[in-house]
């Protein structure tokens, strides 16, 4: 009797252990899979020319990813520029100022933003943001714009990362002990002074890490961006130019490239770039956030 209990425990332990290890190994498997697939194009071209050439002629076997990389960078930076101040201010209000009543309204709103699928944001972007840009924003600066621009993609993406950023920031801010705030308040500092000089100062690494995490999320976002970015191959010169970020490139071409040599491999290389960058960003920011979390305990 006793023996069977112990055996049962051992078996369960073994199974769970194996499943956990397999799940962890997924990270490695994905990396290897993508690398093997992109090996052909990597053997054929130098890494330098793949990353920094802007010649994109799949038919002739020329794969310069610079336009797509630049597209990704433009869109991501713009999205973060839009989302960061809004999220930071919202999170500060929610943790440092607000009464529960306010939270009762704001949290569900953020929940909704977080829950909505990417494609819904795409629809919203196409119906609201794109026409707004082409009719009200672009005419002030350029002669004509369809509205499918870096700006449109940046706005849509910005809105999408707001709930992520706010929830990360809230977590980071609540790691600051109340004593610390009170020590500052007791000296005659206002809430804002306390927030600025104590809370933000104390959590600066956490704020940066959260932002990096949001950047990596924004970089990989596909469908919504694909729907509003314009998908024109070329390095954008301003926010009113169309762009073509990496995820959009993969999504748009994946089905139809099997006939061309190296094309599939090149697209897999694009996925690998994305994976590696996201991996590095995630690891860095998570390590910082874990440290913060543990320091509080």
């Amino acid at each position: 009797m006793r023996k069977s209990r112990i055996i049962k425990d051992k078996v369960a332990h073994g199974t769970m252990f194996a499943l956990t290890i397999i799940a962890i190994l997924m990270v490695v498997v994905i990396a290897i899979g993508l690398y093997l697939k992109s090996a052909p194009v990597l053997e054929n071209k130098s890494l330098w020319s793949l990353l920094f050439s802007s010649e994109w002629r799949p038919m002739k076997g020329e794969f310069g990813f610079l336009p797509f990389i630049m597209g990704t960078i433009w869109v991501t930076i713009l999205a973060i520029l839009i989302a960061l101040p809004i999220s930071l201010l919202t999170a500060i209000y929610l943790t440092e100022y607000s009464k529960p009543v306010v939270r009762k309204f704001v949290f569900p709103a953020l929940d909704i933003l977080a829950a909505l699928p990417s494609v819904i944001y795409g629809v919203w972007g196409v119906l609201v943001i794109v026409p707004w840009i082409s009719q009200h924003v672009a005419p002030h600066f350029v002669e004509f714009s369809t509205g499918y621009t870096v700006l449109a993609a940046g706005i849509v993406l910005g809105v999408m990362v707001i709930p992520l950023l706010v929830s990360l920031f809230i977590e980071v801010f609540s790691s600051v002990p109340t004593d610390l705030r009170e020590a500052s308040l007791a000296l005659g500092a206002t809430r804002w002074q306390t927030t600025k000089k104590v809370v933000i100062r104390k959590t600066l690494p956490g704020i940066l890490a959260s932002t990096v995490l949001a950047i990596s999320r924004a970089m990989g976002e596909t469908i919504a961006v694909l729907m509003v970015c314009g998908c024109v191959i070329g390095i954008p010169k301003g926010i009113l130019d169309a762009c073509y970020p990496i995820p959009a490139l993969i999504a748009n071409n994946y089905g139809e490239m099997l006939s061309m040599p190296f094309y599939e491999s090149a697209l897999m290389f694009a996925a690998l770039i994305l994976f590696v960058v996201v991996l590095v960003f995630n690891l860095l920011s998570r390590i910082v956030l874990y440290r913060l979390e543990n320091a509080e305990k």
């Binding site: 209990r5 049962k8 962890i24 933003l113 699928p117 919203w124």
Partner: protein, 284 residues
């Protein structure tokens, strides 16, 4: 006094900025919902959700997108089951079998956080290569595999979060009575069931809305798949493909599909909140 006044002035300005930020957030929410609901409701009809695409569907003739609804349900249903089978043991392992500051738990949590951050398009591309390696074509099965891959980290992370706050004292109490860890699990399950339920609902919400990964894996079709090897349509792709059509009737269908998708996600999210609120009250 002038310093006090200056302080108060800056305080007020800061508050105004914060209010403005929150109004912008609300503005976005309302704008998105208003767009989807106003367009969707106009285009919505009973046929849309009960009929398959008829002949000439894509030039504005009749039919609905039942294929996409059913396809999404198939894929998400199957991968939820598969995902739960894999992730629940992992979550239990992390929280009951491993000690609080175990190195393995740290590495595992880190790995799942990273996997959670991997873009769905990468899952899609990776899943597709695996399918080709095994000789699979775009199919229902492919969709299920990719969505399962995508959903596991989400499952594990959200459930882990719900489980982590579980008081370790109860575990110790159970161990102290001579129970094995496996037996202790039974005590834990009842405590953390609501957390797991919520996590499941939220993860399903994310899985059903994901388009980028199923794009290659499941493909798109006008009929309801009858076997695992047939391609399957999904709701997000129904929105995506039909929205770019030049024919207004087809675009309308995209709006209707977007509405259906939004409502599904909403219901899931509201149920999740409800369970959390309901059960967190009488938890230890």
């Amino acid at each position: 006094m002038s310093i006090a006044r200056k302080k108060r002035f800056i305080e007020t300005v800061a508050k105004i900025f914060m209010w403005a930020a929150m109004f912008i957030v609300f503005g976005f929410v309302i704008s998105v919902l208003w767009t989807i609901f106003s367009k969707g409701c106009k285009a919505m009809s009973w046929d849309m959700i009960t009929k398959l695409p008829g002949g000439g569907f894509y030039i504005g003739k009749e039919g609905g997108f039942l294929n996409a609804i059913v396809g999404s349900l198939y894929i998400v249903g199957a991968s939820t089951v598969l995902g739960l089978l894999i992730s629940i043991p992992v979550v239990f392992f992390l929280n009951v079998y491993l000690t609080k500051d175990s190195k393995l738990a740290y590495v595992a949590r880190m790995a799942f956080d990273v996997l959670f951050g991997v873009p769905s398009i990468v899952y899609g591309a990776f899943g597709f290569t695996i399918m080709i390696y095994f000789g699979l074509r775009t199919s229902l099965l492919g969709g299920i595999i990719v969505i399962t891959l995508l959903i596991i980290p989400i499952f594990i992370r959200t459930m882990d979060e719900a489980t982590r706050n579980f008081p370790r004292d109860i575990l110790d109490a159970s161990f102290a009575l001579g129970a094995t860890r496996w037996e202790t699990l039974k005590v834990v399950v009842r405590q953390i069931a609501p957390g797991i339920a919520t996590a499941t609902l939220l993860s399903i919400g994310r899985a059903i809305g994901d388009a980028a990964s199923v794009m290659f894996a499941a493909g798109y079709t006008d009929s309801i798949p009858t076997s695992l090897s047939q391609p399957a349509a999904t709701l997000p792709l129904a929105v995506f493909f039909q929205l770019s059509s030049p024919i207004p009737e087809v675009v309308d269908r995209a709006y209707a599909a977007a509405l259906v998708l939004t409502i599904i996600v909403f219901v899931l999210s509201i149920c999740g909140r409800f369970i959390t609120n309901r059960f967190s009250k009488n938890k230890v």
